[in-house]
Symmetry: D2
Subunit: 332 residues, 4 copies
């Protein structure tokens, strides 16, 4: 078997993680690295014995079969389109774009070129989320009737990041919207949202929130609730509960270790793994390895461009609910 030959766009934090996974996977090879910061590109390229290239060189190189788009969010849609036209298999970190129109235009190009686009909804590749999905699909609790998704970050991102992030619904809850749709296997039909800037009131100046609740109804009469907070004193909190007709599935956090201490104050367990890099380290590796094996087997990716569009539609509906004070219908 020949190895899948890949180019990496973006030599930042997440790009480096993916480069290490590629290096450890005997079925693929990191051929080149692209980054507007050339020294960053060089560092990764040197570490894994690959070349620094420009974007155009990658698209023109027939020997490169796949691209990993891990560059800044506002470059994603353009790179996806160019990659699709250049016949590359595409993995892209979320989001495709913050504008629904831009996303839809981009996905049209993908479709017209019959390109394969895998989107970086990393949680779908985490063994805990997968265990809950598998149990649900295998009917262990019968029909899902009430889904509760909790996501809380250990702390507010830097103000500069927040201003460009698109807001809590498009930047943070987007993962939870995707999770709800993935678990149910369909889009909700109605949704309402409540949100506050209670952790950091100043962010309301640019219209953002740090604490939010969204409730959703599905066509089969089941309900789902997502709660988000940008700051949890106890660390990264990622839990799911699915209440079904025959049982409840519940996914707890992954803790730093399994040691507890008991004393006159009670019994104290360790904190959750600090943040997404620690918590989803294995999921990131699974995600890339799955991308490589999907290519080999001709399978569809677990998370597609359409999944990215769906999550964005829900984020926008949540924003609309808050603006209008109404429960919003989702057109599917």
């Amino acid at each position: 078997m020949t190895k899948l030959r890949l180019a990496l766009f973006g030599a930042g934090r997440i790009g480096k993680i993916h480069a290490a996974t590629i290096d450890a996977n005997p079925d693929c090879e990191l051929v080149s690295v692209v980054d507007i910061d050339e020294s960053a590109a060089k560092e990764v390229a040197n570490r894994y014995s690959s070349k620094v290239m420009t974007a155009d060189e990658v698209f023109d190189d027939k020997n490169i079969e796949a691209v990993l788009i891990c560059s800044a969010a506002n470059t994603h849609a353009d790179l996806i389109e160019k990659a699709a036209r250049a016949n590359k298999v595409i993995f892209c970190e979320k989001p495709i774009d913050l504008s629904l129109k831009r996303v839809q235009a981009c996905l049209k190009v993908v479709e017209e070129n019959s390109a394969s686009l895998s989107l970086g909804f990393n949680r779908r590749y985490d063994n805990n989320f997968m265990a809950i999905k598998t149990a649900l699909d295998e009917g262990e609790i019968g029909k899902a009737e009430l889904i509760t998704i909790s996501s809380r970050d250990p702390g507010l991102p830097p103000m500069d990041y927040m201003k460009l992030s698109g807001g809590i619904f498009k930047d943070m809850m987007i993962h939870d919207f995707d999770m709800a749709v993935w678990l149910k296997g369909e889009m909700p039909v109605r949704l309402s949202a409540h949100a506050s800037a209670i952790v950091e009131p100043s962010i309301s100046e640019f219209g953002d929130f740090d604490t939010a609740v969204v409730s959703m109804e599905f066509a089969d009469a089941s309900l789902a609730v997502i709660t988000n907070s940008r700051r949890a004193s106890y660390g990264y909190d990622q839990r799911i509960e699915v209440h079904g007709e025959k049982g409840m599935l519940s996914m707890e956090n992954v803790l730093e270790n399994t040691v507890s201490i008991s004393n006159e104050y009670g019994t104290n367990k360790a904190k959750p793994l600090h943040f997404f890099l620690e918590r989803y380290m294995q999921a990131y590796a699974n995600e890339l390895n799955d991308f490589v094996s999907c290519f080999a087997d001709g399978k569809k990716p677990k998370a597609s461009g359409k999944d990215g569009e769906n999550a964005l539609i829900l984020a926008l509906a949540a924003e609309k609910s808050i603006k209008t004070g109404k429960i919003i219908d989702i057109k599917n």
Copy 2:
């Protein structure tokens, strides 16, 4: 010290529980029992060496200082008014009435007669709910920002009961509305609701639901979510989570026992205590003992008529949100 002399209205299930508590409390005495079913009244009266009386006899008896109203829900408001006018100290099971107007009229009578009315929101007397309230009030997590309340019954009540219950919001979620207001110490300012008849679709014929989600906003920008289901395969589920600026409080279910079994399927813990009688047995005793000691000490009850009115206001707002598809403002 003389003993508080009480009359019990209603010799049914909950009336019997309260009678046993009175019997075991050396500071009070069950003087008489009233029930339209005379044999039920006799059974309880005999067991505790008290007399069977009519309602009028109780109200006329100057030696009876307090009444426990545990009769059918539609008799509560009338009995409260008569007791208030007869100068009795009053304990009444929830609800006062399902009509807000009737509740308000009744509470006016209570007020005009300067009567003391304690309402049976039993969860306020449970040591677990009290522990979460105490921790919150003592500032252990700072300001509460996001409250999540889960209540699920082990199974649907009989259809006859449901038809007269007033619906899921006024019959079941009423406890959770009270819990949210109690924890926050204030009423919310806005609310939205979603509900389904997914467990038993036929109940939609009389406009009821079995699964519901309500989200609320408070004046201080904090949020709360309540989820309800009339049927949980694993039993009675009563949990609370309060996310605050300095930590999260989390209240788990009380289990049948502390034994688990580990085998090739994993590790299995016992179910929660089956239903409210098992789960809140000690809370019911605390509630009555508190009623007796409030009388002795001249203290206000933990749950008042106003608390009953507040919870009803929220239940009605939830119904309105569903009917209108809007987020509803609560006038306080």
Copy 3:
């Protein structure tokens, strides 16, 4: 049905608990109270409308069918013998006596008079221990192969108590020996012991220990380990683990409440219920109610005089192991 008429010997802490249980049980009646401290006897007698009597008056009173022996430990054997001769049904707190000879002589009198003696091994009546015993007897884990019993007290008892207690094996581990024999349904065949005065070295002056480990072998080749400490900073610790061929049963502590707090230090759960009075409150009630219903049904008590003798045999063997540095054979 007529009520079982009881006399109580000993109006101390545990005697009061049993008196309250009798009062709440409609099938029995506390006729009289005996205590060398007359005011203590009076207090209990008044509270439950019974009489103060002398021991002899009790034994002579044909209307008294049963006695509860809750007086000082060194009076137990004498009172049991007198009660047996006077044809009373007997409940006695542990121990019968600290001397094996005295116990055996006493049990001979019980046997000769065909008396029924129920011994106060309260843990056998706790719903958690019962759940583990039931699961074991129903074969949920197949044959028990390795039993681990942990018992730790929140703190050392007063020095005066310890000096008269008979030492850690006869005073504290006696409950755990009984538990092991009860769970297995048979006595072990060999045993070794290790013990230290590490918490309070001064108790070694009178030959006592505060920390101890005993290992036992049963005829069926299964093993058991008991660990004891007189001081656990986190409170009363009472756990059992039974490893069997098809699974493991594990009994955790009962906590003060189900609330946990998560913050930057991790997640903290409540402490175990403080000590035996809190932890075994319901077990004490079950024990007495079982005694009353065994009388009514003619059933054997769950814990007999022979069980007391067996536990004492093991405690003495543990002491011998320490003195001799040898593994001790138990003659059965």
Copy 4:
């Protein structure tokens, strides 16, 4: 910085794991692979672009600085001695040898050649065991008074393996002896053992056991208990509890995932990770990476030859306790 150049002896299961770690560590390089099964050696060598060599070639090659001994147990002592004489830095899987005399002779050679020998007590490198050790060393529970170590394998090893294994104490409990000594920082002074062949009685034909309990006393009066079973229906069970003067540390198993299911049977959590390869995957990587960084920094390894000797001394004492029926003194 130049890379540490290593040779691997033994291309079996554990050898492959270490080879992958070396490959992923940028500070070292796998130069050669030695195995009596040449095709196994070739497979590993090819995968990581290294050479197949004979043992003598490795010892003669001045460019090879370090050796990893992962070959059959009975080759360890010889290879250690040759490596020590050839001036290599040595990592060796446990055991050095099953004979104490052979171990001591081997360690003398190591000492005479001032060689650095790191022993594969992998648990010392697991983040959970490390967390308990760190908490203990930092005084979080004060003095350790009672240590309980539970180790249970998911199932009996093949009969052929067992016959050559040296028996449960030298093959399995050896890890737990090391753990006790590591946690306490010293050897115990006395020990007693009980053991049975209850899971598979036929192994008593060659004098082995499958279930065992060892109790130990330390010079500071603290106690420790180890329990072992060769078969746990629920999987690999590795727990530790350290009871100290100011608290208790408790290390639970690592589970397959954090998902639980609640239904009419209770709440079921996932099983522990299946066996040592799954459970200690990260510990094996930490171990090798620590070996490499100890070389670079000139630090002593976390587990030395002396640690191997100590654990073997305790295993032999346990065997002696069983043979003699006595509590055995350990000469330190």
